[in-house]
């Protein structure tokens, strides 16, 4: 049976792809060895540099984000290398698992999955590693499974404080394009990104931004690699081409999406995400529900994970909302399965889409008979009414 109206895709990615991006992808595939392609390739690569805030190299893979994780590791490390990871949630845990499968020795710093990376613990651990066995520190910028955002500049400072030479690798798959990110200024060695969240594209492209130090490390890294190898990519990319067939149509979408971010203004994009996250938390609190992230400084601008009252199933709620209200919410992952639902408020999103989303959750809570106070949406309405978004303020000025 057809469900009328637009689907509300409120998972924390893939986010709703704007029509302009879909229409760009919908163009006829071109010859990836033609003169025109080189222009496209350079536009995509240069655009991604600006998104990462780096003057170094960015690699674009025809692959999911998971592939770009793998690329970060195989280009810089050797079998048996120790890497230090912070288990901020499910995706950090998956990265750890990936590292093990590649023959690395990840060491996990635990958390309760309700906060971001533990900067002090990282610093303490590095300080103990006088032998410099740890070759890399891996942190998830925005943990998509919990809605906690780590302070990457602080991680960098912590590493620097110890004088430890480990590489810093950061996963920005769910933050890139939605949360401010400064690859160069924060001294990140490898940043991992994906297309389907803040970049407003379908899944299918992923990225590495690489520092000079990371490139140097790659020359002695012994893990076998070919598809993910940076060297050939960087060489070929100089003129805008790729060493193997790129995902041409996704690149059409990528340059369009970067144009759109710049038209809005990156600072407006970041402010918009923060404001929506705050409105969402107000709604959640008004309902009397608990936000999973328990450290206000770690609140994610792109998603909010909400804990279910004891004895209530998040998946049952999500099922009702999906079936009856035509909205997808994120499920609890790993140890959070059925315990939380996640609200994505990222990408090409605005006040009315957010209020429709919160309204739908409020209807769903009632339908699923989840104990809650009414008025969450109203609280968000009041908040949004009283705070102009940065873009409108600029427009008026």
């Amino acid at each position: 049976m057809r469900k009328p109206g637009r689907h509300f895709l409120q998972i924390p990615g893939p986010s709703t792809v704007p029509d302009r991006v879909l229409r760009a992808i919908d163009n006829q595939t071109m010859d990836h060895r033609s003169p025109e392609f080189g222009v496209l390739g350079r536009r995509a690569l240069d655009g991604m540099k600006s998104v990462f805030n780096t003057t170094s190299d960015v690699i674009i893979y025809p692959a999911s984000g998971t592939g770009a994780w793998e690329a970060a590791l195989v280009n810089t490390l050797s079998p048996g290398d120790t890497v230090l990871m912070c288990e901020t949630g499910h995706f950090a845990w998956l990265w750890d698992r990936l590292a093990k499968r590649l023959g690395l020795k990840p060491e996990l710093i635990d958390t309760d999955w309700r906060q971001a990376a533990d900067v002090d613990a990282i610093q303490a651990r590095l300080r103990k590693d006088s032998a410099h066995d740890i070759k890399a520190v891996c942190v998830v910028h925005n943990e998509t499974s919990t809605g906690c955002t780590s302070d990457i500049a602080a991680v960098r400072a912590a590493i620097d404080a110890t004088g430890h030479p480990a590489l810093l690798m950061v996963d920005t798959i769910s933050s890139l394009g939605s949360v401010e990110y400064l690859h160069d200024d924060w001294g990140v060695d490898v940043t991992v990104g994906g297309s389907q969240k803040g970049l407003m594209l379908p899944p299918g492209l992923s990225f590495n931004a690489v520092s000079e130090k990371a490139k140097a490390a790659s020359h002695s890294a012994a893990l076998p690699r070919s598809y993910w190898d940076w060297d050939e990519m960087i060489a070929s990319n100089k003129t805008g081409y790729f060493p193997y067939t790129p995902a041409t149509n996704m690149l059409y979408g990528l340059v369009e999406a970067i144009d759109m971010l710049n038209e809005e203004g990156m600072e407006h994009v970041f402010a918009r995400h923060k404001r929506h996250a705050r409105a969402t938390r107000l709604a959640v609190e008004t309902w009397g529900l608990e936000v999973l992230c328990r450290v206000p400084e770690h609140y994610s601008p792109v998603l909010t994970a909400v804990m279910m009252p004891e004895g209530h199933s998040a998946d049952a709620l999500r099922r009702i909302i999906h079936t009856e209200l035509n909205m997808s919410l994120g499920s609890g992952l790993g140890r959070l399965q059925d315990r939380v639902f996640r609200i994505g408020h990222l990408g090409d999103f605005n006040d009315l889409m957010l209020l429709g989303t919160l309204s739908g959750i409020e209807v769903g809570l009632a339908r699923a008979e989840v104990p809650h106070n009414k008025g969450g949406t109203q609280a968000a309405i009041n908040f949004l009414a009283s705070t102009e978004d940065a873009q409108n303020a600029d427009r008026a000025a």
Copy 2:
């Protein structure tokens, strides 16, 4: 400056065109004399018969709805003919004006623009017309400028009660596909329809559904006509073709839209519109604002016109909502200019889109400092939560 997220097109038509329909229109134009075209043409024509609930002929014009109005008149009437019209609002007034320009003598039954057609007045007027000077009675089914819906079966009964031979012509431009309509059962002679409202298409196609009596009248009607002429259309349409170049790509969209209506089920479509209209009125009443339509039996399922408090400008409110919240609302037309705003809740629409819409109005009322009580959206949330829509009920059953 780019406005992020989806635009909320909440005017009472054109309504938001679903992606499936846009994608259908986006297909390559075909030869309108090819064998394949005949199949398309018949699908479109037969589909429209089912939408009008008629076994008689439907004409599809490459034209706006205004053209189909003109077609209804020039095919059935002669210069100087008297037609009886009910001035239910701006569009009824425009139809009257059109009739005058064509050399007809329209006679207007007044209303205060806050109710639907006055059935008793029609009956009284016809009864007085013993000479049968009145050749046609013209009624707007759903008056888009006021949000009042007329009872066409009652108009038919009123005409029949007088034994008057006048043709019955009905404008369904903003109701067709959203409100139940029975061309044959209600004994309508010419129904006028358009593509851009309940049919979920862009503007550019319009329709006449014609009774046998109307066709008979066309043979003696003396108004000059060519583009709008039914005869050649009906003859050519038998095999699915058109006497002049049709709007082929719009026809692609039309057959897709009709498929979508049938997939949802017409009875579900109608129930959905009524439920959304009721939720909207609840919000308006909670805000302490007044619905323009003052007769509950006449409430429109497709739009709600809302009166502004004395001393407040509807256009100022609409401007803020458009600029700051990325939503279009309908303006007050004619004598209602700046006095009302109109909320379209028609076409490819669902609970969350409605709640986003109402939320946006509530934010706008606050921003524009229009006196109102908070909680309108909340009232709509509560109503929608407690009433399942017919489609979900059927799905569960």
Copy 3:
């Protein structure tokens, strides 16, 4: 059964719609009363002025070309007015028929349908009309049914030579955007155009370009009109809006198409069409077939009608080519039915598309066992190889 590959739509319109135009039409419909719409409307109207080469007003109708014909007549003439028409082919004949249905008195100047408008006959007839009974001279610029193009400047000169005050009306439906056309310089009073040929759009928009003299005539013209009325259009258009709902999505396509014409350069567009027409005639002549147009000065740049050898059916040939080769060719219209086939080489077209088209005809001629000499495509290849198109020449310069 699916036919693989692209369909070759080689009728003389609708022409193949370029992807850029389809993608533009595929955008979400906007509010036709929004501030953004006014900008779009003015872009479309100003763009069309440049296409017609006029500084006067252009009207855009949500209608097929036939509607714009009707508009030209009802805005300027009164019941019983005499109009002089040249029967250059089927479309001129249809225009005559339309005039009769509107209550005008068309007077037809015959041709054998193998040449363009007879300028001398027009002049002679006007000279005889000392009473100035003739109110308008109507000429088809490019007769789509025959492939003959009339010399409009010469018609103007002929009228001027007689001092006759008749209006000059010209149908450019199949020439506009493909053949040079100077509405102002040639002193045309009403030019009629359509979207689906040289303008590279689907059918559904049509145009009137109107002189001051035509506007003056409209003030005393007594034919009833409303949908087609210029006055309200021109008034509303000043700010980019329309008096009734416009075909918004087609307007998206129109501004894109005009951009594309300008990017190529109108002089290149015209030269391209002429060169392709010449290559086509070379092929036809090499096959030993006869081009319908028998006056070289009248050869159409947009289509070539080809006469079938005695005893052979054009429709049988077209059917084979359509079924087996996935190409649509134009049929013989009216008295030419089954006697000619028409090759459209207009709109968004290039050398390889033309050579594919000619190749397909050559294969079809063989399959249908139509007597012909081989080598027509080869002749076109040789011609195209030896003559650079104007755009390439400019690019090299």
Copy 4:
């Protein structure tokens, strides 16, 4: 400067993506964990099984074909393993290079790049390998750089004749969906495929079809792997889902493309490619040029590589054709650089597109002053006219 008309993308892949596939990809991204996604996933996976003619598992990677090559090796082999490869051309050479980078020991059987895989040499080499050091035999089915197609059934027979246990791996990136391929019947262990050739999609998806023997080998294979790992994929795929975010929009396109192949009929698709290849060779021979492939049994149905006369540059010819005629041809790769040009005649292609292509080459040869005889296109026309394609024959029957 805009080039009018459709670009002819006649490289041997990516092939022209049909509108239906582009429109499918253009749909809004869905939640890859939703119930609806599982249905899509299974349709894609089952469809690919039918394309490979296997009842075993197919893996779909969000990656280019190069990634699927890597996947085939890392899932089945261990560091230092010897693999036997046939250097049929540039892509076989690239595969060899990839194997080395992964730490394998490829052993190359030379060819002159003018023929397909040397079955006798493979058999001889395996026979000598009594220690069974060789773990896999890798063959490119259709060598995209040369236009030679290997006989995979014969390779299988050769292996069987020796009783050697090596796995058989086959690259079908440029043949899949265009040339008959029987994964199960031919006893292939790993088949590698890509989306952007016969499957008519943009690049961005690639495939492994895997035998039970290959899966068994994967359990002891020691090369590190995670992104490419089959186990998790196969487990997750059972219900239509993926272990990491899939390229959802490409999957929309994939199911549409498979539907299109089936609508045409796979046997018609294969016959069409063979017929077009033969027409192309006739043109080449008529021009007096030499087809690179010198063994008629090895002629590729999907592309034809053409040798340039001594002293003439293939790239200069290609540049003229690209700039002046809006067509892309494939370049000579590796040792063939500037020595050959390659004509792709694969994917969503038909007689008229082929004749446009050949015509364009003939114009280009003249423009570039490459010595040749006229009449190649004419030869192709004559051939196509006299041979009905299989689909038409079936339609008539």
